[in-house]
């Protein structure tokens, strides 16, 4: 894939700025939650705790913000191990997730990424 031009990179940064200017994505923890839910569609509260390394209160706060924005839906499901709180991504959340992927794709590749690229 050809590296993006300087114009495309500037456009990408502008787009990224727009995305993150919105209240619900003004936190890297919430961006992380959105990316993970975009890939996995549903994750449990414990899995999200392990993912974000947040405390329970902080995670609750982030999830409530995302739910209030209509990007995710929280619910309790019953499993063999007992009731579990899970977060599902909504249609609106999937649109936002695709926007994040698009921004990620348009970001210029840094040297560190080339070094860290898995074989």
């Amino acid at each position: 894939m050809a590296p993006p031009s300087a114009g495309a990179a500037t456009e990408s940064l502008a787009g990224l700025g727009e995305q993150f200017a919105q209240e619900e994505l003004r936190s890297s923890a919430r961006v992380l939650i959105m990316l993970s839910l975009g890939v996995n569609r549903r994750l449990g509260f414990m899995a999200l705790l392990a993912l974000t390394h947040c405390g329970k209160g902080s995670l609750n706060y982030h999830l409530k913000q995302l739910e209030a924005a209509g990007l995710i839906r929280m619910s309790t499901v019953f499993t063999f191990g007992g009731p579990r709180v899970v977060a599902d991504i909504t249609e609106k959340g999937q649109v936002r997730y695709r926007g994040l992927i698009e921004e990620l794709r348009r970001l210029p590749v840094s040297d560190s990424m080339a070094v860290d690229m898995p074989s």
């Binding site: 200017a21 961006v31 970001l107």
Partner: protein, 246 residues
Amino acid sequence: MISGTQDGRSALQVEAAGDQNRSEPVDQRIAPDELRESARRTLQFGRGVLRRRWSAYYAVWGLAVTCYFLLPDLLGGTSIPFVTPLQGTALFVGLLLGVTLGALTVSLVVFGLAERTFTLRLATYRSNPFRSRDRALRYAIVAALVLGVVILSTRSGFAALLAVDTILVVLTLFLTRHLGRAFHPVPIEGWLASCSFFVAAAVSFVSLLVFRSETAHLWAWLGGILVWFGCAAYARFVPVGNEVPT
């Protein structure tokens, strides 16, 4: 190094550390590199989730292939009381269809997850090692499946068994392709599952074409299935580091 803070810590680390001292997290606009770092972390975390999902795939296809090989003998070799031959055939077809539909459903879920992971990886690392191989593999898969189905519907005996082998090899090729797209690197159970089916297929082809033996063919595939069940148990129950909690 991740930009975003003066001391070099990422915003994620700051937020996590902030939990110890603050009652409510502080929102801050994140830098572009933070997005990439989040994507990288999502991929690392998703690896554990994926391994658990693939364990269901190994188990359900192991069960399906077991049914394909054993159900005809089990149902044909025994006479079930109060069941007419027609009902027996309906039971056989129903069981096979049920198992196949279940396996296909699990496959769709797992392959969907694998594709979404691959899309994120592609956006993060800008590297697609599969582009050149994808088209050739797609043609090979379609050709082998058509050939297998045609032989299976027109021939019986050794030819039919060879067709079954061909279809299973194609399924394994498909599995290997998706494993490669989903994982970097492919975990040990993924390699074992792929290799066991390729070895089973090789042994089966040789036994059918050279020795004309159906027994070796059956044992080869049963060995492959056992490895798949082992892979399913390993991926499900063995701790996978800090990738995902149970």
